[in-house]
Subunit: 340 residues, 2 copies
């Protein structure tokens, strides 16, 4: 059932039927009712391919997915996707993942914009002076950055959490508990979120005349194994930290294992705080010693990004407003006062 058939059936022109269906004003309400009714009764659904050829609108939002045999997709992605998908569903949007060579995403961005494959895109895991942000911005497609870049000479719309504030608070608490030697087991510090977290820790330490010791900050892919290795390396030093801030729950698993292997107790010998993006399948309160966390459900961020993308597509949102969400510090058993 296409428009032609439907309009013929109603003895109306395609123009009028199309307008009736799309809510244009220049059509009699009585007629509109008839049209809508007939459309529903015959299950008419406008062909999206035809519509997008005519309008350029696709009803899809895009994401360039870096791939490659050596490239691992972050498990956070799935939670973010849950939120994004949930919102997208309620607004009849689909998400298209365009796989790209991790080292050349630019080609893919250009393609999806040139081809008008999506109405908007989002960018995740931004880095300082992120070229993708600059590119997408000049290409003129609506977009939202999940996270922030830095050192770009223009503004852009983003939704981020207060990574610096979160880790500042976490470190401040540890310092107040008497810890003097902190360490940070961070994610990839080419990404802005990691830079912000380190900055937060340093700022908190500096406020008490302290600093992150040489070699007391690690930057690694967020795997259990890397958490273990980093913790081991740190804890076997002569100036081993008495407290660790950790960028992910998965890494924290490794930290806990390292402490156990070394016969250290948490929080007796080591205080630990990790960032929790809130996974349904791994909860900080269920760690052998309940884990203190800086907490921010990444699923909510996904929903928010979808919401803003939808708003930008429909022209309800414009400009370059960035928003930064506060992060909760949730104190559980894994922190304690430093040994005298």
């Amino acid at each position: 059932m296409n428009l032609k058939q439907l309009s013929h059936m109603l003895a109306l022109s395609q123009t009028t039927v199309s307008r009736a269906l799309n809510g244009y004003p220049e059509v009699n309400e009585e007629t509109r009712r008839r049209v809508i009714d007939a459309a529903k009764r015959h299950g008419y659904r406008p062909n999206p391919s035809a519509r997008r050829l005519a309008t350029g609108k696709t009803g899809m939002i895009g994401y360039v997915l870096p791939t490659g045999t050596t490239v691992d997709i972050d498990p956070h992605f799935v939670e973010f996707l849950s939120g994004l998908g949930d919102y997208a569903r309620s607004h009849e949007l689909d998400l298209v993942l365009s796989p790209a060579d991790a080292d050349d995403q630019e080609t893919t961005y250009r393609r999806i914009v040139a081809n008008r494959q999506v109405d908007a895109v989002y960018i995740s895991s931004p880095r300082p002076a992120d070229r993708r942000v600059a590119l997408v911005s000049t290409l003129g497609i609506p977009f939202i950055v999940h996270g922030r870049s830095e050192g770009l000479d223009f503004d852009y719309p983003y939704t981020d959490i207060d990574n610096e504030g979160a880790f500042h608070e976490a470190a401040r608490l540890l310092v107040q508990l008497g810890h003097r030697r902190l360490a940070l087991i961070n994610g990839d510090d080419r990404e802005t979120f990691a830079i912000h977290r380190e900055r937060g820790v340093r700022r908190a330490l500096a406020a008490s005349g302290l600093a992150l010791g040489e070699g007391h900050v690690c930057s690694l892919a967020m795997t259990e194994e890397n958490g273990y290795r980093a913790a081991r390396r740190l804890l076997e030093r002569s100036d081993a930290p008495t407290a660790i801030a950790c960028s992910s729950l998965i890494m924290a698993l490794g930290v806990v294992r390292a402490a156990r292997d070394l016969g250290l107790t948490i929080p007796g010998d080591l205080s630990l705080i990790a960032h929790d993006d809130v996974f349904p399948w791994l909860k900080p309160e269920n760690f052998s010693v309940p884990l203190s966390t800086t907490r921010s459900p990444i699923r909510l961020a996904g929903a928010r990004v979808a919401e803003r993308l939808a708003a930008r597509i429909s022209g309800l949102e414009e400009g370059a407003r960035g928003e930064v969400w506060p992060v909760d510090l949730v104190v559980r058993g894994s922190v304690a006062g430093a040994r005298a």
Copy 2:
């Protein structure tokens, strides 16, 4: 730059240019070279919206993503996606995720087929008599099932791993080591993979005149917490198992924690084997006691599914061939002979 401009520039008809570009035979090789060259030089890329309107081909594969505030996307998804994406990239395919109400995916399947939004779809986490498989089959869109359904009265193409065989082998090993009371901590047993695994365990036990004790099989969402709870419940019974087979590495984390809480050692008091889909961020060899696993990289499955979808789209594959991959049993420190 569109076809009209390009053909005008070359003083050729749109027909010829189109054919030259799409490799049709009825065009002079010299002309073809000219056309291809000019297209490249001017960066001509056919507009996909127009092409899909004309041909019905979209260059996209679809996946219906169940969503909802209470619906959690499996973290396995991300690994599967890595493989799928990697293959899709090399074949210029995009993946479109259509979010759907978890309780009504049918509407979404019908929509994406009726609208010709994708060239093929894949279905994951199938259940016995899965309605999606039946639906997609009657809708007549190319598809591959990742996993298997059961009790359907028709054949369909699928790629699955030998879950039954894997857990059969695992259980057989445990029995050979002298274990008499096994337990199975399984995933959601409404899904076929879980049913197959249970079947494998039962078959291995039956071969030695044993059986899964009443209450010795749990079926839960695969989270750390559920692994812990299930293990605790099992290990506190008077007829506590001396060996556990577990459907996921994440649940196994919980099992290990439960054992520790109860003062049980692995493998001294409890042998443990889990299934490993191979995550980059959590490895069985890094468990406090290296974990024995049935191992099958889900990323490979993703790539294979993409490959078969591409083949079906281009007509290279047809029919209903199902393929079942063997699973490796990797023995590490977490299994030992049963106490006398």
